[in-house]
Point group: C3
Chain length 138, copies 3
């Protein structure tokens, strides 16, 4: 059994958007009880990460850390056609995930208690982002 | 054909735990000869990495590097409810992998010669960690 | 339906090699119209990344950034049996991807417009690298 749905996300610029509910709805609608949910982010300046879903300060620290690891406006970046956040957005996408695969058990995503699924927008401007959800199983 | 088993790992605090044998045992027990093994780490302060399995100094350097990339006690981290290794554990989890997918060929994991599958514990305290193994194929 | 093919890549030392066409050819040859393409890099000093396929300067900046994040010859690395790029190659592999999963829709990889699939060679010497492509679906 296979099921595909594209989730469209409107971001408000740099930050994390929680997709957990929308992915869970895909699993429900697929009627798959045991299988896999594959998430695929169709961009190179936005990406996926599964991280702490409870305390917003954990996510704030994750974003601040990305600023330190791949800072905007680093003069060593050459590719700035779209601005000082252009290359850093690709670098952060390379550091986080383009695809993520989550097992389905008992008809639900087998996430741990503290795991949320997030789209990470790496550009400062608001964007429309597409995440393809592919579910397979029984 | 589908098979799921949760591997429970007791860590001794920060470090890498080799899961290769336990994952290989799952493949054997699944009787899948051609397919996929998906590993999913159900935590946000521990993660997965496939790296050099031969010389322990390679793994030591990987851990030391993570200390430099996401240092404990960085005063710019706000989220320290569980200690100075709280946010760095989430940051390191975001840098390594939550899920990893390994093809199965000829009834075995299609790992390269030098590849081992490791759970990376990012907290200093010992923890119980769960890794879900989902196998599908023929 | 399942299909496996190993892609052999001859690298010219450190850099990115575009595999998009060869992976697309696997999808075509598999005759799968809806499913998943899993890529698995069988090495610990080379890895995969899906990134910007248009402007070479974006890829140049990505490589330069990896030099800053995991520099060659860092005196804190102990494992240098194969040279000053030995441990940095493992560190960069841990930062990028060992496996990547791409949905197939309408008989083609569901990549975004600007996404290319690249093998990242992290060693300075030329190497032969193997990427296993596993396709499943209908």
């Amino acid at each position: 059994m296979q099921f595909q749905r594209q989730i469209e996300v409107r971001t408000n610029g740099r930050g994390l958007v929680d997709l957990t509910r929308e992915v869970a709805a895909c699993v429900r609608d697929s009627r798959v009880t045991s299988g896999l949910a594959v998430l695929f982010c169709r961009h190179t300046s936005a990406s996926l990460v599964i991280t702490e879903n409870a305390d917003p300060s954990a996510r704030g620290d994750l974003l601040d850390w990305l600023e330190r690891v791949a800072p905007d406006g680093d003069p060593r970046n050459v590719h700035d056609a779209e601005g000082p956040d252009d290359s850093p957005a690709h670098q952060r996408s390379a550091l986080l995930r383009t695809s993520e695969t989550i097992p389905i058990a008992g008809g639900a995503l087998a996430l741990g208690t503290w795991q949320g699924i997030f789209l990470a927008e790496h550009r400062h401007a608001a964007h429309s982002r597409s995440v393809l959800v592919h579910i397979s199983g029984e």
